[in-house]
């Protein structure tokens, strides 16, 4: 038993952290919110240069061949920055799907460019027609009638839909299935999409941890700076205890996310239960921290002038995405009861 990340994993985290700190300040997220998605393009390009976008692609495809576990810390940083863009769909889900089930032609056309950050991928699971970042993607991978499809976004009808998180670029997608865009049939697509759903849930949980950390940092800073009654509000026990509770929620969710990453990357037998635990705790922690951070900010937190709202809204969206608490709790219930 050894529950810690390697130095390499931490170095990659630090690289991503530095890039995002430098290039993805809150005003970048705000610009995307205000309808200027191109503001985040250069951040995506820098992330691609660091190799993060190609992390999961095989070395033959220009990637690093990294596992679910390796992805977690970079994704946490992406959550911390509330970076807008289909990074989860591209890196955690799309590229591995392409690699496992793309036809030779599809791989030839999309895989290398996706790993290089030139192609962004959105993923639509069976029965899912509202997709995050559909508007910002170049390629849609979708599961329809059990089969996989790999569709250039130019062949997809995308109708914008409003998310509470305006930077999510939600879109309703529809397309004509055809033999040309159909993925391979000689792999178990049911199993592959199930695995992809686990990956999406795990990657979302990792982002939620990052969102927690940022909201808590904002609230702690605010509690230190804001003075009332002649002293910082953070000196008041009632405020302190809210923030202590927020930290506890966050810190107990974190190891569950890391453990789920390890379980998936080693194909552990109970990986599905581990992912469900991770998603529940990360989602609940993020919603809790959001609530406490808002309360500590008071009225300013209740405006869209304060950056906090962009993180809260991402947290609400992601807590419900890829299986909310009720869905994952039921999976666990079936396992233990």
């Amino acid at each position: 038993m050894h529950f810690a990340f390697t130095d390499d994993q931490k170095m990659l985290r630090d690289t991503v952290r530095e890039v995002l700190q430098r290039e993805c300040a809150p005003d970048v997220v705000r610009a995307v919110w205000e309808g200027r998605p191109e503001s985040a393009t250069s951040v995506w390009d820098t992330l691609a240069e660091t190799g993060v976008v190609g992390m999961t692609a095989s070395e033959a495809s220009g990637g690093m061949g990294m596992s679910e576990l390796d992805l977690l810390l970079p994704l946490e940083e992406i959550g911390y920055a509330a970076f807008p863009g289909p990074i989860v769909d591209t890196v955690a889900v799309g590229i591995p799907l392409l690699e496992a089930a793309g036809t030779d032609e599809q791989k030839e056309r999309w895989l290398g460019p996706a790993a290089a950050g030139e192609v962004r991928v959105a993923v639509a699971f069976e029965d899912q027609d509202i997709v995050a970042d559909a508007g910002a993607a170049d390629l849609l991978i979708a599961q329809r009638g059990g089969a996989g499809y790999c569709v250039p976004i130019s062949d997809v009808s995308v109708t914008p839909e409003q998310s509470v998180d305006r930077a999510r670029a939600l879109g309703r997608v529809s397309f004509e299935t055809s033999p040309q865009n159909r993925m391979r049939d000689d792999v178990d697509m049911h199993a592959l999409f199930s695995l992809s759903q686990e990956r999406a849930a795990l990657a979302t949980a990792a982002q939620l941890i990052g969102l927690c950390r940022r909201m808590l940092d904002m609230a702690v800073q605010y509690a230190k700076d804001r003075e009332q009654f002649g002293k910082p509000i953070g000196a008041q026990q009632a405020v302190k205890h809210r923030l202590a509770n927020a930290l506890i929620e966050q810190e107990f969710a974190r190891p569950l996310v890391y453990r789920a990453g390890w379980s998936m990357s080693t194909s552990a037998r109970d990986a599905d239960v581990a992912v469900s635990l991770a998603k529940i705790y990360a989602g609940q922690a993020a919603r809790f921290v959001a609530k406490e951070a808002l309360q500590v900010h008071g009225a300013i937190g209740y405006t869209i002038e304060c950056d906090l709202h962009m993180w809260m809204k991402r947290a609400w969206a992601l807590a419900a995405a890829h299986g909310d608490a009720a869905y994952h709790r039921e999976r666990i219930g079936r396992h233990i009861l």
Binding site: M1, F3, V239, A244, T266, R329, G333
Partner: protein
């Protein structure tokens, strides 16, 4: 990262399990917080020690196995899984001993550790005073310098099982000119000697698990001071950090409680509803969360990191989880949950109501959770003290 147990760890688990299955009393012992139960628990402690299981992580020369922290956690998981007796030696083995290992002299360790682990000499803590609870540094008990030692006077309270113990440890003011954290010294002292009166106090559940200790000019030799004279606060804080951290409540205990709750749920699911069902699942998940959090913490410790104020998060989490888990059990049992230990019709011999009352102490002892949250916010998050 490798979250599988090593072959050595797996073999250790097997060895624990085999011994415990062969030796744990088939019938549960009476409460260790009563005089009669305490004696029976001591017999069990002798048996544990003689087989080398009383303090697995200790050096072999003191009766341990030099087990790693992970192996200790494994032992605890197995110990509580099988429902072995509660550890009446706990205040010695898990609270005083870590302090002795850090600050004690060789002579003190030679003299105290083996009898402590075997239960031949039992230890109670003597931290709180009537007017020094959360504000421990305001304590009033004193130690006066005399030839060859000190004379202790004052009053200590909420001393767990001190009514049955042989020895105790606590802080006394050795420098009357200093205030608060300065000028305190950490003493070990006997409970059966001239000048000591111990009065048992019945806890919430009616067991005599608490005691008050009155001291009047009680002689203690210099050799029973741990650490330097006047440096007792620093020494004591090392103990409180292990108390809040892992050593007091390892995950195995809560995993076992969650497993018993699931068993209870299966027996009472007819009167369950989706809300209770979710609470049962939550209890199991919380125990898992605590387990993985602990594995992460122990890895940090084994890499030489000091956990420090992070241990307060631990204490808040397990103590509040334990209350919730027991509340869920009582709701499942329903009307008959009031039936207490001793009532033949009581579900699981009244164990859940008793456990509930014990769980309610968790957010209070070892530093109230309000104090823990102050520590977390000030020393982990860096919020201003005033």
């Amino acid at each position: 990262m490798d979250l599988d147990f090593t072959d050595t760890e797996a073999a250790f688990r097997k060895e624990c399990r085999v011994w415990l299955e062969a030796n744990v009393p088939k019938e549960p012992l009476p409460s260790g917080d009563t005089r009669e139960g305490f004696a029976q628990h001591l017999a069990w402690e002798h048996q544990l020690f003689d087989a080398g299981w009383a303090a697995v992580s200790w050096p072999k020369k003191y009766g341990g196995r030099e087990a790693s922290l992970f192996e200790w956690l494994i032992f605890e998981e197995e110990y509580y899984r099988i429902g072995a007796p509660s550890r009446v030696t706990q205040n010695g083995i898990f609270l005083l001993a870590p302090t002795l290992f850090e600050f004690g002299t060789d002579e003190q360790k030679e003299r105290t550790l083996r009898p402590m682990a075997r239960g031949d000499v039992t230890w109670g803590q003597a931290w709180s005073e009537p007017n020094a609870g959360s504000d421990l540094a305001s304590l009033k008990s004193t130690a006066r310098r005399v030839d060859g030692g000190w004379r202790l006077s004052g009053q200590k309270t909420w001393s767990t099982r001190a009514a049955f113990c042989d020895m105790a440890y606590g802080l006394f003011r050795t420098d009357p000119d200093q205030t608060r954290h300065r000028g305190l010294t950490y003493f070990m002292f006997p409970l059966h000697t001239d000048g000591v009166t111990v009065r048992g106090v019945d806890r919430l559940d009616g067991d005599e698990g608490f005691a008050e200790i009155f001291l009047e000019d009680v002689f203690v030799p210099d050799s029973d001071i741990i650490g330097e004279v006047h440096q007792g606060w620093k020494v004591a804080m090392a103990t409180t950090s292990s108390e809040r951290g892992l050593s007091l409540r390892s995950p195995g205990r809560f995993m076992a409680t969650a497993t018993r709750l699931i068993d209870l749920y299966h027996r009472y699911r007819d009167r369950s509803d989706p809300v209770l069902r979710d609470q049962v699942i939550q209890a199991w998940m919380d125990a898992q969360a605590y387990r993985w959090f602990t594995f992460q913490t122990v890895t940090r410790m084994m890499q030489g990191e000091s956990i420090g104020p992070d241990s307060s998060m631990n204490k808040v989490f397990w103590s509040e989880m334990d209350v919730r888990t027991h509340e869920t059990a009582l709701e499942l049992i329903g009307e008959s949950s009031e039936l207490d230990v001793g009532c033949e019709s009581a579900v699981d011999a009244g164990h859940w109501m008793k456990g509930f009352q014990f769980a309610l102490a968790g957010p209070i002892y070892a530093g109230t959770n309000e104090i823990q949250r102050n520590i977390i916010s000030e020393r982990v998050l860096g919020l201003p003290r005033k």
